[in-house]
């Protein structure tokens, strides 16, 4: 039987993962012959790591997704530096003039940074001005890093997830950062106004100049931005992080249904049954665009379908969990962040002074949404309850505070209950020590000999001594 010929359009995180998932199920290509077409000339890389590259903690050299010999060992026909221009009959037509026959096409064209129509951001050719960069690609990172230096003023256009990660990274490199955000609070898609206010305070305390409810009106190269209220933001560099748009050009040209992204069903099929789409370019009702995890979950399902490993596989969506990856700011936003009573049980905790905010929404005892800023343990725990649907603990406050693990404050031996374990290694309780004392073991060595307390790991030596002292004092008082 001839293998099914599948052409993947796009060699980004979703396309690359899809190819891996196919080869995981069909290692030698018996069932599926894979061609992957990548428009960029360099191999696929991990976009999630770009914030770390920008922050300077991770070298750019380690972000590659695949080894140089990946295509060969994975038996993939990898075509880099070329684009798909058309599908004609059963052939994919590439910009280098070559063609590839196909049985199925997978669109993984991703998304691109959106640049707001602000005067001066683009030059006359339509390209970005020399001191303007988007923050989306590895090349963007290089462009930004070539321009930053400690003390340089930098403006970030956009106070969403990516904009704030860029702002934090640039701050760490010693830049003077201003974030310009057109909405009244930061990260308005993931965070409510109260949470946004706490977030803005945290950033301000770190030294970021946050301008809310303001848009850039004009960019002057070498000078900075003029905002819509007439104020001025000095900037040697403007980083545009104003959102992304799904890359749907090819899909539209092919006449596929597009609504914000390429519309797909639970089998990741577009309006043309031979064409699938996944990742950032695809629009599925169960997913929020821009999350890597969605594309990876979709890759698993589509690989199951394309290889026949599980013809019943369906993609039902990926619960949305947004995490801000910015040093010193711990923010998680998940599910129904805007839920409010009586539709849901909602608990909030607002501590702007210490830069902490938490909102927890539950329905039927299950976590359905949360915004958590400054409580890293709670973020991890609540996300787990959200993802697994495990019923939430009855003590909601404990959940909000994360796993409170108080480091036992030293207590007077008098306050210890009789059955408190003093020496774990030898199962000696307070009562055991008291009994031994009453039987004549009235010194620490005598208590040790009588009960074996302290003779294991020895960590209870202080406690045992404290109890001996307490008993001695009691005796003195009594006599």
């Amino acid at each position: 039987m001839n293998p099914r010929r599948v052409v993947v359009v796009g060699y980004g995180m979703a396309g690359a993962r899809f190819a891996e998932e196919v080869r995981r199920r069909d290692p030698v290509g018996e069932r599926v012959a894979l061609t992957v077409v990548g428009a960029e000339s360099h191999p696929a890389y991990n976009r999630v790591l770009l914030s770390a590259v920008l922050a300077g903690t991770m070298p750019a050299g380690v972000v590659g997704l695949h080894a140089p010999d990946w295509a060969e060992t994975a038996r993939v026909d990898l075509r880099l530096g070329t684009r798909v221009v058309d599908l004609a009959g059963r052939e994919v037509v590439l910009s280098d003039g070559s063609t590839v026959e196909y049985d199925a096409v997978v669109l993984a064209t991703g998304s691109r940074a959106w640049v707001p129509p602000v005067e001066g951001l683009r030059g006359e050719s339509g390209a970005l001005a020399a001191d303007v960069a988007t923050f989306r690609e590895l090349d963007d990172c290089a462009a930004i890093l070539s321009r930053v230096r400690p003390g340089a003023p930098v403006a970030v256009l956009g106070g969403g997830l990516l904009g704030l990660e860029a702002a934090r990274g640039l701050l760490g490199r010693g830049c003077l950062v201003t974030v310009v955000h057109p909405v009244g609070h930061l990260m308005e898609r993931q965070v409510d106004p109260a949470g946004g206010a706490v977030l803005a305070k945290v950033l301000t305390d770190m030294g970021v100049d946050v301008r809310l409810g303001r848009s850039a009106a004009q960019h002057l190269t070498g000078d900075g931005l003029k905002l819509d209220d007439g104020s001025h933001v000095p900037a040697e560099l403007v980083v545009v992080a104003a959102g992304v748009r799904a890359e749907t050009g090819l899909a539209e040209a092919l006449g596929l249904a597009v609504d914000g992204g390429i519309v797909v069903d639970d089998t990741l099929r577009t309006s043309d049954p031979r064409i699938h789409a996944l990742g950032d370019c695809a629009a599925h009702p169960g997913t929020v665009p821009g999350m890597v995890q969605s594309g990876w979950d979709q890759a698993v399902v589509l690989a199951d379908l394309v290889t026949g490993a599980d013809p019943a596989a369906r993609y039902r969506g990926t619960p949305s969990v947004a995490r801000l990856k910015a040093r010193g700011i711990d923010l998680a936003a998940l599910g129904e962040v805007h839920a409010s009573p009586p539709d849901a049980e909602v608990i909030t905790l607002d501590d702007p002074t210490r830069g902490r905010y938490a909102k927890l929404a539950l329905r039927d005892n299950r976590v359905v949404g949360a915004i958590i800023i400054g409580f890293p343990d709670a973020a991890a725990t609540i996300t787990e309850f959200f993802d697994t649907g495990t019923p939430a603990p009855s003590d909601r406050l404990a959940l909000l505070l994360g796993r409170a693990n108080p480091s036992g404050t030293p207590r007077s031996p008098a306050d210890l209950p009789d059955d408190a374990l003093v020496c774990r290694c030898n199962t000696v309780t307070k009562a055991g020590l008291v009994t031994a004392w009453c039987s004549g073991a009235t010194s620490v060595p005598a208590l040790v000999a009588a009960t074996r307390a302290t003779t294991g790991c020895g960590t209870c030596a202080d406690k045992t001594t404290a109890i001996a002292t307490w008993l001695t004092d009691l005796n003195a008082e009594g006599s």
Partner: protein
């Protein structure tokens, strides 16, 4: 340049009654006067003993002690003479061998047996019985760490450094180990910053500076997340990796996809805590990563350990003086027991049975033709699972193991045991497994016999008899010798004197990875501190391995590309909780010994299920109520212990208890593809009131 001393280091020569505790791999030094125990200063326990150690001598005088062989007659075990029992067993085994081939008889050993017993048992199986079907309970214990150590370093020694290195370490990452309960005196060595990875807030986790509590079964993802943080935060030791390792890039490519926030979503461990762990380890001048059963007893256990080793390599720890990766061996002779031939795929000296050179060398020491040695046999669970089946063994001989309680999927194993024609058990009490046997031989125990043990740091210890054995009891070596002779072996081939057996073990291990040839009883009696390999009698031993090169032919440590796949058993509405199993301070393994000690039994008398109060109340259970815990394989009964520090999705059960209280009635026999380790540490269950 090896920094280990050129000179032999020596402790005071052991005196009269000086011995070692019978239980765990710490092998605490103790002195027996009659049956009174006193702790003794020794590098592993520094004069400490836990309650098990203090009460160890109780087992020597337990009223349940067997003192005569038992033979099943009309369905009942009855006392018989040694000759009667030996003749019966030899005749039966010979008949089976003749009728159905040598593989119709299987042997099951244990990690508590001395090196001499483990060695002679392997030889007995391969030479006297001619069977390939031999394996041991260490497969349920150390096998994943061993396989991962082999893969990474080319050699497996639990801790390839002496225990005092841990005490001097500035930071220790302890994964899936609870030494505060399982080897309490060890805790004295944890003096630096301590990071504990455990789903439960254990006694050990209580002491930690940082406690990471992953969802059970997700440790591998956590290791990848910390490795990711090490690289992303600039802590990766590229210089070390370039000089001493291979394979980082492939391992990193998989870890690159596991950034801490993604790992947080899988494990429940806060991304910030993963970074904190990375920074703590990277910031320490000396650091250790130590793994235990919690991260090893999984169907991906070898890869899990591999992921922790990758982390250690990225931080430049293994083979660096004062730092390292090690696993905390569990059973008393868990280390030596896996080196000298009671493993299905192995010959003495940690040689591979499939290696033609190893076969011919060992065959020459044994005086038999190499081609007469059988090949590799089934691994422990597969061996037990094959009992009584078409092509499977029809008889089983068990030494130093209580499989009815300790094997996974225990209900199924009991059923397999019931199908064999002939079950022989050597033990000193009537364990749950012995009670099913056709013949039971009463054997000596620790303080009554001589022999060597190899502790968790690869240190070889000599046990000398401290008390005399009761009348009617013989050593396992005497038993093997008597059976071998009856099976037609020449007498000289199966000595019963431990030192004579050890002399032969020295020859058989010479030139192997675990080379004992330079170790002698007289050196051990003189107090020489000897960590294997010891290739010559004037060699000082090797407390620290890998200082100049690793054991792979290229001399380098190998990163292993490992990815997270998750536990094999999914949760669903019927089985909505994760169960994990482990030990409590008062009991050892299947409890066959410790349950006989009144003081220990009083402290921990019955099985319990540790559970968050919310989870219990959802099942209609209150504290101290009797619960039924059910998995896809079986049910067990346990008393509810409320614990508000438990994760809401997880219950914990100790596995020491017999009968209807066996935690292993629940556990999943899904096996690791490399080590054949079952998935003891996570399975899906439901909790109900009884």
């Amino acid at each position: 340049m090896q920094t280990q001393g050129e000179l032999v280091t020596r402790l005071a020569a052991p005196g009269r009654g000086d011995t070692h505790c019978p239980y765990c791999a710490l092998q605490c030094g103790m002195r027996l006067t009659g049956t009174a125990v006193e702790p003794r200063d020794f590098p592993t326990n520094l004069g400490g003993l836990c309650q098990k150690g203090w009460t160890a001598a109780e087992v020597l005088r337990t009223p349940s002690r067997l003192t005569t062989p038992l033979v099943r007659v009309d369905g009942e075990l009855r006392a018989a003479s040694w000759d009667t029992a030996l003749d019966l067993v030899a005749a039966k085994l010979a008949r089976l061998r003749d009728a159905h081939g040598a593989d119709s008889v299987a042997v099951f050993g244990g990690g508590g047996l001395t090196n001499e017993k483990a060695y002679l048992l392997g030889k007995f199986a391969r030479v006297a019985l001619g069977t390939a079907q031999i394996d041991y309970n260490g497969r349920f214990c150390m096998s994943s760490a061993a396989a991962a150590g082999m893969r990474a370093f080319g050699l497996d020694r639990g801790m390839p450094f002496p225990i005092d290195d841990v005490a001097r370490s500035e930071a220790v990452l302890l994964v899936g180990a609870n030494p505060a309960e399982t080897m309490p005196p060890f805790v004295q060595h944890l003096t630096g910053a301590l990071i504990v990875v455990d789903p439960r807030r254990t006694a050990t986790a209580e002491r930690a500076d940082l406690h990471l509590r992953p969802r059970p079964g997700t440790d591998l993802a956590l290791a990848l997340g910390i490795l990711h943080a090490v690289v992303a935060e600039g802590h990766y030791r590229g210089d070390y990796a370039a000089e001493r390792t291979t394979g980082f890039e492939a391992a990193w490519r998989l870890a690159a996809a596991w950034w801490p926030e993604r790992v947080e979503r899988v494990t429940g461990v806060a991304a910030g805590d993963q970074r904190r762990a990375a920074a703590l380890l990277a910031g320490a001048r000396t650091a250790h990563i130590l793994t235990g059963r919690g991260t090893e007893q999984h169907s991906s256990g070898t890869d899990m350990v591999g992921a922790w080793i990758n982390l250690a390599l990225a931080l430049g720890l293994p083979g660096t003086p004062g730092s390292g990766y090690g696993c905390l061996t569990g059973q008393g002779n868990g280390q030596g027991g896996r080196e000298h031939g009671q493993k299905a795929d192995q010959l003495p000296g940690y040689r591979k049975i499939t290696d033609p050179g190893a076969r011919s060398y060992v065959a020459s020491v044994w005086g038999v033709p190499a081609e007469s040695l059988p090949g590799a046999g089934r691994s422990a669970y597969e061996l037990l699972d094959s009992l009584g089946r078409e092509g499977g063994p029809r008889a089983l001989m068990v030494f130093g193991s209580n499989i009815l309680v300790s094997a996974p999927n225990a209900g199924h194993i009991a059923q397999r045991l019931s199908t064999v024609d002939f079950l022989v058990v050597a033990d000193f009490v009537l364990s749950e497994t012995a009670a099913l046997a056709d013949v039971v031989f009463p054997v000596t125990q620790w303080a009554e016999e001589g022999g060597t043990m190899t502790n968790l740091e690869g240190r070889v210890l000599l046990r000398t008899p401290a008390v005399s054995a009761p009348d009617g009891v013989r050593s396992d070596l005497e038993l093997l010798r008597a059976l071998a002779i009856r099976l037609g072996q020449p007498e000289h081939r199966f000595p019963a004197d431990p030192e004579t057996v050890f002399e032969e073990l020295r020859s058989a291990s010479r030139g192997g990875p675990a080379d004992y040839s330079g170790i002698t009883y007289s050196r051990l009696r003189a107090g020489d501190q000897l960590h294997w390999p010891v290739p010559t009698t004037d060699h000082p031993g090797t407390p620290r391995m890998f200082l100049t090169h690793f054991a792979h032919p290229d001399g380098r440590a190998h990163f292993t590309p490992v990815d997270y796949t998750g536990p094999t058993e999914p949760l669903d509405d019927e089985y909505p909780l994760l169960a994990t199993t482990g030990r409590v301070l008062h009991h050892y393994q299947s409890g066959a010994q410790t349950r006989l000690v009144p003081e220990l039994n009083a402290a921990s008398p019955e099985a319990f299920v540790q559970v968050h109060p919310d989870t219990a109340s959802r099942a209609g259970l209150t504290d101290r109520a009797l619960a039924r815990v059910t998995s896809r394989r079986g049910s067990t009964e346990a008393v509810v212990h409320y614990d508000p520090t438990m994760r809401l999705d997880t219950v914990f059960l100790p596995f020491h208890f017999p009968g209807a209280q066996r935690a292993n009635l629940l556990t999943n026999p899904a096996l690791d593809p490399h080590s054949r380790m079952p998935e003891f540490k996570v399975c899906a269950v439901r909790l109900e009131s009884l």
